[in-house]
Assembly symmetry: C2
């Protein structure tokens, strides 16, 4: 754990881009954290998919849906500060330059994802496998909506 | 995204170690996912710490605490199947062999972490900065309780 660095970096996230650059110097931490958030979401999506295609385990689906909901509401957008459009976390970032210039589209796809993630958690709690399948489709589309706009095709 | 592989891997997590080995062959996916979960927890702990030490923003603390709670209840222990004691995800795993042999201690530290993470989310929702500071200390101890037992010192 690198609490000291993390604390500095995280504090900086609330500051201006200039203050951020001064405070942490490197974009690596933000990129590594956002890649970790994405991976955790991917793991969770995979678990729901496996439950839809295999034996449906309500508890597993709830675990995964609650994880996705928490991450969708975690404020991880704060990990895309100015100056993090290139650089390496676990690997080179796949973010497109458009992420930092098309605020209207970003808001649109971000809000769509947030809505579907919140709905996924509600539907998971119901334990209705058919409804989970439908909502999983909606959620997947909202993931794709952002990826198509803002993620490079390579290294996915 | 590698949904197909993830789905296969995740399905396999509910199977025996032999079936798991047959189904996914490699431990890399599990190790990468659990390292991502740990990083996301670390990011969230860092955010709470920054709010305690700097300007307290209730919403940020709630975001971070809810993320930690969801991950603590996500069933990520399922990512430590037999055969994943060595190998590389984002980096070589730091898990100690004892993780796979001392079930009683694992249960003890795991339950302690779960309890403190759930309590952290409750306290965060209250918006009481002093209570958040106290509970952050309790939660940090429960993290350390597991790390001391089951995580190698290097590459932390």
């Amino acid at each position: 754990m690198k609490f000291k660095n993390m604390a500095v970096a995280t504090l900086a996230l609330g500051l201006s881009a200039a203050a951020l650059a001064q405070a942490i110097g490197k974009a690596e931490d933000q990129i590594r954290w956002r890649q970790s958030v994405m991976q955790t979401q991917g793991w969770s999506m995979g678990r729901i998919k496996a439950n839809i295609e295999g034996t449906f385990n309500k508890d597993q689906v709830i675990q995964a849906a609650n994880t996705i909901q928490a991450l969708a509401n975690s404020g991880s957008g704060g990990l895309f500060q100015s100056g993090t459009g290139t650089g390496k976390g676990w690997h080179d970032t796949n973010v497109k330059p458009e992420y930092f210039t098309n605020a209207a589209k970003l808001k649109e796809v971000g809000m769509a994802y947030n809505k579907e993630a919140n709905e996924m958690a509600k539907v998971a709690a119901s334990g209705d496998a058919a409804a989970v399948k439908t909502q999983f489709g909606n959620l997947g589309k909202s993931c794709k909506g952002c990826h198509d706009e803002f993620r490079k095709k390579e290294n996915q």
